[in-house]
Symmetry: C2
Subunit: 321 residues, 2 copies
Amino acid sequence: MTDRVSQLFGITHPIIAGGMVWCSGWRLAAAVSQAGGLGLLGAGSMSPEVLREQIAKCRAATTKPFGVNVPLMKPDAPAIMEVVAQERVPVVFTSAGSPKKWTAWLHDRNIKVAHVVASSVFARKCEAAGVDAVVAEGFEAGGHNGREETTTLCLIPAVRRATTLPLIAAGGVATGEAMLAVEALGAEGVQIGTRFALTVESSAHDAFKQRCLNLDEGDTKLLLRKLSPTRLVRGGFFDAIEQAEDAGATGEQLLEIIGNGKSRMGIFEGDLDNGELEIGQVASLLKGLPVQTVDQVFAEILGEYHKAKQRITDNGASLSV
Amino acid sequence: MTDRVSQLFGITHPIIAGGMVWCSGWRLAAAVSQAGGLGLLGAGSMSPEVLREQIAKCRAATTKPFGVNVPLMKPDAPAIMEVVAQERVPVVFTSAGSPKKWTAWLHDRNIKVAHVVASSVFARKCEAAGVDAVVAEGFEAGGHNGREETTTLCLIPAVRRATTLPLIAAGGVATGEAMLAVEALGAEGVQIGTRFALTVESSAHDAFKQRCLNLDEGDTKLLLRKLSPTRLVRGGFFDAIEQAEDAGATGEQLLEIIGNGKSRMGIFEGDLDNGELEIGQVASLLKGLPVQTVDQVFAEILGEYHKAKQRITDNGASLSV
């Protein structure tokens, strides 16, 4: 027996690597798929031409299924979708837009569709749109985030009630214990961002990885609520935005501070002072870890999951409930 | 075999009812203790004289152990502690202050001490101060909240690593599934606020209970970061603060808007437009429930916990990990 998420994507473990800007190139996606999960290329930071190259390299590195994450608010989303279809990528994860927009088009081309939501309202829209699986991502997640600020602990049970679709939990999941925890809440798989963004195979700059592996609790915060709520890491860019927001800056004023190309500068080029640094809140739980390979991450998470399950089911040690 | 939290407090189930302002009077505390959990009186909204009366009434209603929650920033905390000691209350939960301040004094009087934290830094301080148990409360919780904004999913594993003390999870826990989830993360018990605040036995106004049982996702938010971060329910009071903050209001300006007695007005007197309404984010998961008795809540949570555990351990249905 395999779970519904593994069945749907034809993978061994229901562990998906989030398709993250400037992190999720072919090396990360291929390594995750090779390890038995589902690797996603992050088209959010790729032109259609770059995506086509990345798909080719990923396919050369693994015969296992992989996918592409497409943020639907991206101006060139239609061209990105054409590349995905032409290259016969088997899976697309869509986010930041309506699940109605591309699902039928992708299904017509035999592509499986998962959509990322931050609320049960959008989960219901996913079911109505006919997507194959829903990713419910909580407030803990790095980067762009839902307006409701619903945490994974509160979101997963709400989405579980709202839909019968295969449910993948995201936000705050970096360990096997957390994987078991979201399973207890009704999830059938996990999408992991932060942990994979900080692996050897991630295309992020080493300075970014080192910084994110040395965060304390409270070193990421959700800012930019007047534009699109975004979880950022403390640093020069963060401070400039936080100070402006504390002083009542408008959305237009914030856009001026943000400027262009700041996430590339921070994550890909490693300019920690001036660049935009996006990582999940759970990074502080990884403090002091070395930059691990994807295989090491899989081995740890699977081991932790089994150990935690054993602990839970060992009646001698369980709670008096 | 019983778990460490149940052993420590001499209770049947490791379920503690948070000591909440204007909700946690003797009726709620006694009902929770009678049901096999640990009821707490919320001294945050009581004078020493009122607390003495409440202790007497609680003791008349149950022979089971119960406790008192004391927010240490309360100006009359010393007088509150004197009442607790004179009345021989067996357990005190301290919060909003240093665990060093009262732990030895309470231990000298044979009173067990748990301290509420929102970070692993403070959890370590608890262990150093010799407290008997630590409550780790995440961003989801209603009312006053930590500055780090760490969610329960990220906080519990961090605190679990920081201390060997019995660990009680709080924030976002209103169901048996969530209880199992935090156990997977390393918690040995739960402190539940929201669910008990909205029971028949809670001393909150019925209008407050009805409002909180009809919230959608996103209807509570953490505000007042420039003073003491506080999770509030949308309404007139919330709107006034949110608008002022969006415009860059200072802490002093926010204090003027808040005024005095607003939580009593909102929670106890049921003035939903002008009063301060505090509830946890998980309230939206309870939408549409009737106002239940404490016994009904216990029966549901215990049933859900066992059902979720059965689902997790049923190999036919489990994840391919």
